[in-house]
Amino acid sequence: MSKKQIILGAQFPGVNNFTVWSHPEAGSQIAFESFRHLAKTLERGRFDFMFLAEGLRLREQKGRIYELDVAGRPNTLAILSALAGVTDGLGFINTLSSTFNEPYVLARQLASFDHLSGGRVGWNVVTSPGAFTGANFRRGDFLPHAERYDRARAFVDAARHLWAHPGRDFDLPGIGRGHFGLPENHVYRPVIAQAGDSDGGRDFAASHADVIYSRHGTLEEGQAFYRDVKARVIRHGRPASALKILPGAHVILGDTEEEARHNLRQIRLAQVSPRAAIALLEQTWNRDLSAYDPDGPLPEVEPDLGVGQLSLGRTRLHDDVLDTVRKWRTLAEDEGLSIRELAIRVTARKHFVGTPESVAATLDDYVQQDACDGFVFAPHYTPGGFDRFVDQVVPILQDRGVFRRDYTEGTLRGNLCLPDPLARAA
């Protein structure tokens, strides 16, 4: 039996503490050259796609713009279309809000991108928090939280209708009516990605998406998620292979296993600086904890469960704050962890740590054992944070026969071996 081929994507380092801006080789987070470097590196490594996250308002904490993390990024569609202009085979997945865009406008932009890039565009459909983000947009806080996925579904359906009918008039109730005047000499098939992990999010992905981005790090968690989501896909009348499951992950390499573990430790210390540790705890406690010593024990004070939010512009990490804090206290007491060491522990994401050979073998295992179909990696710094992976890990995956040596399809949909959605729409 032939082996599953691994799907590889990577994102430009994001605006959170996982991006180590203090790294000695860290460059500009906004210069075009930084973006071009990553895109060219990924294309050299024959990656399926480059991914870009989006946040439509700068984060705030304790009433001030958050100052500890990288901030300041380009317009998603604009920078990725610029990169499409200087690459040939790499796909580009744009994170874009279904809340603060209008279907005709965004469908036209994505169709334009798809046309100009020769079919290399994807859309990661996200919903945006209403009041905080809405303050930057004409429509303001217009959409009740409970309706955010209804709008997302209707939005994607409308976009796909428009893409299937270039050069035609449209009349879609609740969406709009008019003319979708895009060139008719192109077949518009942007890839749809989705990242929600809630029940609603998984169902939305199962019915509508080509790619689901997950955060399930271990082999067993990945397998459970994989089984659940693929079953939902089949329930929606689609083949299981129509939805690709791609967890987000980081890679830490070393010449030896020990060196890789040492590198991980150094990176975690840089990601969770003493001030960042306090700030991370404040986001859960919903209180000012600046009087506490990051190298001391956890705050004895309980979290503030009031309606006021100390941290704005972030996804809430824990549904049950009191339960989370109780578990953290137990963990800290059992192992004698300081605030900073606890933050390093509990904010960890999935890291593949080791030599190029061992990391390649583990990635292959995850895919062959159906924990996922591939990965979306986030480098720790820009622009060179992914050079080593491409130079040292990709060739091993190619030698194992699980990753392409060259682009053969020319489109993102082809890279991902996805079925043609028009066959379904017809």
């Binding site: 713009i65 500890l68 920078i79 279309s81 930057n136 009516r177 979708f180």
Partner: protein
């Protein structure tokens, strides 16, 4: 005596609906190094062919050009000012300071089609001319405030104190207009030019400029206000016509026609080929004669603001 001025070539995404990506790339490659700038008028909500979105096209082309500035057209009344601001700022990063925004006003008819296309959401103007004009001015003001919302020195990378930025050098713009308000700051740092060039095409000298830096204006209709004026001419190398804003004639006769319109104080020319496939190569072939006649300047290098003679833009939030 004439003085040579910058040349902008006008293209429209709607007219270019039939262009393949390769043809767009070739067009820009020909213009790159031959003219100072190109405008891409957007076909948003047009009744027929609309072409690719001009912001996407501009950025896709942007990284492939070396010298030419790109002024992307946006139907500002029906696009989110926040998205316009970050997209043009990004174009400025992509091109290293060669970006501009072509502010496209909407009349009542286009406004009706645009509102229908987006299903009449809240926060947008109605189809009445005065309302559209006020909203346009609001949107341009908000876009410009967002460009200034990061001071140039906002990113401090203070490793010792673990501070990436200084929040005191970022500013909530707190813009309140007739139909919408925007808190800010932008998610995108201040672009290389500080303020990318705002341009607007006016049909007559009495039209208000709505916060633009330069105006494209058909000559022969009288003098505009105190805005730098670029003579605006659509031209075709087929048939014969001479009217304010339109010329048709044979190759070899354009320089003499422009010389008759050229006047002291003119800040530039925008020449728009009527049928780009037919007329752009012929126009490019005319350029040496236009240069020899002292009508247009050699394409410059550097930022678009500098080439158009606009002074560096101060940041209104900086002390």
């Amino acid at each position: 005596m004439t003085h040579p001025v910058p040349l902008t070539i006008g293209l429209s995404t709607a007219a270019g609906n039939a262009f393949t990506p390769g043809e767009w790339r070739d067009l820009l490659a020909r213009i790159d190094g031959a003219a100072d700038a190109v405008t891409l008028t957007d076909g948003f909500a047009a009744d027929g062919p609309q072409g690719p979105d001009a912001i996407i096209l501009a950025n896709w082309l942007g990284g492939q050009t070396r010298q030419v500035s790109i002024i992307a057209g946006v139907a500002v009344n029906f696009t989110e000012p926040f998205h316009i601001s970050t997209a043009i700022a990004t174009l400025d990063y992509v091109t290293g300071g060669r970006a501009g925004l072509l502010v496209q006003p909407s009349g009542p008819e286009l406004a009706k089609r645009a509102l229908d296309a987006i299903s009449h959401p809240g926060g947008y103007p109605q189809t009445e001319a005065g309302d559209l004009a006020e909203d346009l001015a609001d949107a341009v003001a908000a876009i410009r405030l967002l460009w200034d919302s990061w001071q140039d020195d906002a990113v401090i990378r203070d490793v010792e104190r673990h501070r990436f930025l200084d929040p005191d050098r970022l500013h909530h713009v707190n813009f309140r207009g007739r139909h919408f308000s925007i808190s800010g700051p932008s998610i995108t740092p201040r672009p290389p030019q500080g303020q990318p060039v705002g341009a607007i095409a006016l049909s007559g000298p009495g039209d208000p400029a709505r916060g633009a830096d330069i105006a494209f204006l058909p000559l022969g209709l009288g003098a505009a206000g105190n805005l730098p004026v670029h003579g605006d001419l659509t031209l075709g190398f087929a048939g014969e016509a001479e009217a304010p804003g339109l010329w048709r004639g044979e190759p070899g006769r354009l320089a003499a026609y422009l010389a008759g319109l050229h006047r002291p104080g003119l800040s530039g020319w925008r020449l728009s080929p009527e049928d780009p496939r037919r007329d752009l190569p012929l126009l490019l072939a005319e350029l040496p004669a236009l240069r020899a006649a002292g009508l247009i300047a050699e394409p410059g290098r550097g930022t678009l603001r500098a080439r158009l003679g606009l002074s560096p833009a101060p940041n209104r939030f900086a002390a």
